[in-house]
């Protein structure tokens, strides 16, 4: 079947963020056709070109999100020869009826966004009920605002699809007036009320940027109408075309968020120079958009429980959420992992990029305590500094601290001494390859204070090494009892855990074997692909595609067996919980999954 892969600043472009994962997905699921719909983030990115695409990629459509600050002329030329001659061919703004529609839809959107900003404090004061999906204190207000948001969003999308020119309209005075009225309306928050004219203009500009996908020419029968399933590789802007495809063509939507887009928005907004009202409005918009994406998506997948919590917080229903751990290459670690040795008893190894968030300072202090108990221990810090002068400066700091804490040592009076802490880089004489880095130590230590998905920890698990890590990010979820976990910023606890493992080779071997088994089960590329293959099939079985053109043969007569018999059953028969309650036999009520499996077997011939 045909998958529409929606990416944002990613895949087909050479320097995309999620490029590797998408590439593996497209190459790994070769039985499907892929249409790529890519948003590009900068001119530089477009110039870099695309990665080589496999044969199963059918069409690639790209659209820029970065021309936001330029004056984009409308898509419609002025009507009439005279008007064109006189004005020199500039775009015609909306007519009266279109302007009325635009005003109404934008007003609905703006009102819901302002209300979201206002509800920020109160909604969260009413606490967990809203988060848990139950009726919160202001649940009805929130539902009304959500309804207005969707009305406005889809209204604007339909307008853009029929008439174009949304960009020009959003930059017009009409839009600013609508936004001003929405901000000054009673019931909006204090922050939003203080919006000044430059804030309104800035918000209109940002709104134009985030709503840019509404103006693309993807929404036709050849574009997103032709795909059987939309797979958005992130939330936010990339999921917006998926929402519209679902709205216009009924294409089911699958959203994969390895980093939650709303959270990324908050972190990115902290660094910008936008004023508080603009940030409040934008936060409201992104929050509502995330809620709508989660509501419309058939399945939302995420990489770890942390992302899952954020998604639940933004209103994603639990039954839609699937955790699909990221896949990593495991072949190169096989030899080391299967060798069965638990590594040298006297060496701790740390592998990663040397930067402040990794808290090497705490590691060095912990190692000082380890040395007090076991004077012969060595610590090998393997990795390159973060790029830039700051990374180099941090590396120099760490080296200085190591030299201060640990004087050089020599075996006897005539030998040249050496520091027990060594800083090495992969590719050097001692550590030619990454597996050699893990082979160098008996215990792999991770001392970060912040961490997303700890790739280094997974590599250590593939290598069958016992690990000691700090309890940050997804570490506990990844390690799952096959290594020791200590609180972050606690060198003493880190030292104690390292000592415990160094002194006990058997336990190290046991933990290492368990870690390798766990990693092979959860974090391989194969499991990632298998999970998505299953989700694709499941989704398509819930919404089988029936095209009129396929049900007739060349002469226009009906083709036998083109439509499965289930298609004649009244009502939606494949959706979970959609079967009419009164007529469901008791054996089928056990779970909708049985129904799905049957449907897939019968109708999934084209998949």
């Amino acid at each position: 079947m045909r998958i529409g892969l929606l990416t944002d600043g990613g895949y087909p472009h050479a320097n995309g963020e999620s490029g590797l994962w998408c590439d593996r997905l497209v190459r790994g699921l070769a039985q499907h056709e892929f249409d790529l719909f890519a948003l590009s983030r900068s001119a530089e990115q477009e110039e870099r070109g695309w990665v080589p695409l496999p044969i199963q990629v059918g069409r690639v459509r790209t659209a820029p999100l970065w021309t936001a600050d330029e004056d984009v002329p409308g898509t419609r030329a002025p009507r009439g020869l005279l008007a064109r001659m006189v004005t020199g061919g500039h775009a015609r703004p909306y007519g009266r009826r279109e302007r009325q529609r635009f005003t109404a839809h934008l007003a609905a959107l703006a009102a819901s966004v302002c209300a979201a900003g206002a509800a920020g404090g109160e909604r969260d004061a009413s606490g967990g009920e809203a988060a848990a999906g139950g009726p919160g204190g202001d649940g009805r207000t929130s539902a009304t605002a959500d309804a207005r948001f969707t009305q406005g969003l889809y209204g604007l999308a339909e307008l853009a699809r029929e008439h174009g020119g949304l960009t020009a309209a959003l930059r017009s005075e009409t839009a600013v007036r609508v936004l001003e009225a929405a901000c000054r309306a009673p019931g909006t928050g204090r922050t939003v009320q203080t919006a000044t004219v430059p804030d309104l203009l800035a918000f209109a500009r940002e709104l134009d940027r985030v709503l840019r996908p509404l103006s693309f020419d993807w929404y036709d029968e050849e574009g997103l109408g032709a795909v059987d399933l939309c797979h958005a590789t992130s939330g936010g802007a990339a999921a917006l075309p998926g929402l519209l495809a679902k709205r216009f063509f009924g294409v089911p939507l699958l959203v994969t968020e390895y980093g939650v887009q709303l959270r990324a928005h908050y972190l990115a907004a902290t660094g910008t120079e936008l004023n508080a009202p603009v940030r409040a409005l934008l936060a409201g918009f992104h929050g509502r958009l995330a809620t709508e994406v989660y509501r419309q998506a058939a399945v939302v997948t995420q990489g770890n429980a942390h992302a899952r919590r954020w998604q639940e917080r933004c209103g994603a229903e639990r039954e839609k959420l699937r955790t699909v751990h990221p896949g990593m290459e495991s072949e190169r670690f096989t030899a080391l992992g299967e060798s069965g040795d638990s590594g040298p008893d006297d060496t701790l190894v740390w592998v990663g990029r040397i930067e402040p968030a990794k808290d090497l300072i705490a590691l060095l202090h912990a190692f000082a305590e380890v040395r007090k108990a076991e004077p012969d221990t060595r610590l090998r810090i393997i990795g390159a500094p973060a790029p830039g002068p700051e990374g180099a400066a941090h590396l120099a700091h760490c080296r200085a601290l190591a030299a201060q804490l640990f004087p050089d040592e020599a075996t006897d009076a005539h030998a040249v001494g050496d520091n027990p802490v060594s800083f090495e880089d992969i590719g050097g004489a001692e550590v030619p390859e990454l597996p050699d880095a893990y082979a160098a130590g008996g215990v792999v230590v991770l001392s970060s204070v912040t961490e997303g998905f700890p790739a280094g920890l997974v590599e250590a698990m593939f290598c069958g090494r016992a690990t000691v890590s700090t309890d940050v990010g997804a570490v506990v979820e990844v390690i799952g009892g096959t290594g020791l976990v200590v609180p972050p910023r606690n060198p003493r606890a880190l030292a104690d855990a390292c000592l415990a493992l160094l002194r006990d080779p058997e336990r190290r071997a046991r933990l290492g074997a368990a870690a390798r088994a766990r990693a092979l089960e959860l974090f391989t590329v194969e499991q990632n692909l298998a999970a998505f293959r299953g989700i694709y099939l499941e989704l398509i079985s819930h919404s089988p595609v029936r095209r009129e053109a396929e049900a007739v043969d060349a002469d226009g007569g009906p083709r036998p067996f083109a439509t499965p018999p289930e298609a004649h059953v009244l009502g939606p028969w494949a959706g979970p919980g959609a079967a009419p309650a009164g007529r469901t036999p008791s054996w089928a009520a056990a779970g909708p999954r049985t129904v799905c499996a049957g449907a897939r077997g019968a109708g999934g011939g084209d998949a």
Partner: protein, 441 residues
Amino acid sequence: MGRPTEVSDAPAAPSTGGSWDLRSRALVSGPSAAGEPEPGPQRDAADPAGAAGPSGVPARAPEIARTASARRLSASRRGPADPVKSLMHRHRELCERAVDPLEVAAGLEAHGVTDRTAARYRHRDVFSLAEELFARVPGVAANPATGPEAPERDIATRAAWSLRALLPGAACLATVGALGFTEGTLEGRARLAVALAGALLAAAGLALALRSGPLHAEGRSSGAARVYGCWLLGYVLYGEPLLDQVLSGGPEGPWDITPAPLLGLALALAPATWCAHLFSVHAQRRLIGSRALEEFAAGVRPLLFGAIALHLCALAGLLYLAHLGYGGGGAFAGAAALGVLLLLARLLTVHGFPGLAAGGLAFACAAEALAPALVLAGRLPGLHFLARPVDLLVMTSGTGSVPAIACGGAALGLLVAATVVLSRASAHTTARPVDEGPVVA
């Protein structure tokens, strides 16, 4: 995951405080007691109970247990009554800046706060901890409108475009001078060549002057508008003699062109540029300070009128000087109206309304072309009445009144339009801040 932002407790190299020296000295100096008081708030934050973490390791190492109990003692002795307070103090900047509890949550997580950390503050998760922080930190009282500040004065850039704006006037002056100097020494053909060269030079100077500075329109001006502009300027030169000849039964004989108003107009480009600059800068300043769209519109309208009036005064002076210096006839009022019309059209183009500008120019062109056309049409048998209005007009107020009426009418129309559209806030976002550096493409 997220990059840590610049908040106090970002894990950083021990570059500032001497605490790491202290600590490391204490560590290397000998075995320290378990309850030794240690500096640094992060020691407080260490979870006493979860030292081994929820790792599920069956046999907890004895070392861990011992240290844990020892540290619990010290923690309870020094523990503050309100643990959230210190956290709030540490993340005060984040909480004050945040517009939303979720933003606080995202920031906290970027600094390594997890649900297990939140449990220490008696919260179920980071979200509820963030809510408490967001609720407890008072918002920055009436946060000042720190928008994009008015652009800094950039003398060099201003001087650059001011000089460029002088180019067409200088070219015209040089041509006039050359023609006057060579009067009698060169024959007609050579003088024509000099005049043509001067005209080309002035046109090139005009193009250069409009490519940067406050009158630069970033590709918004259309070809049609340029053609209209050339026609209007050409009419200044040839319009009056043309109408004269047409009225007197021509065209025939030598043409008596009127270059003085054109010279004045060329010189007036520099004040026009400065008027546009003043308008744009003051409008930006007003935009930053205004809280409502109506307030902004009410503030901008006087600015526009002021800029136009200033330009009109300067233009009148220059036209008078050119008239004094060069002599000869020429439509004084018509040239002044044309100057205002051109400035208004350019302002509208710069602020994103090229269609309006082109329309105004087209109206003026049509009116100017209509006058001779009507006269010519009046020569046809039975169509005398067509020439009557022009005849009347010329009889009462001379040939110069035709461009004055045409350009004046168009300028008035554009002024009304500009009063409406240039008082919109959205018109001042497309305009590039004037001093933002040269755009010499």
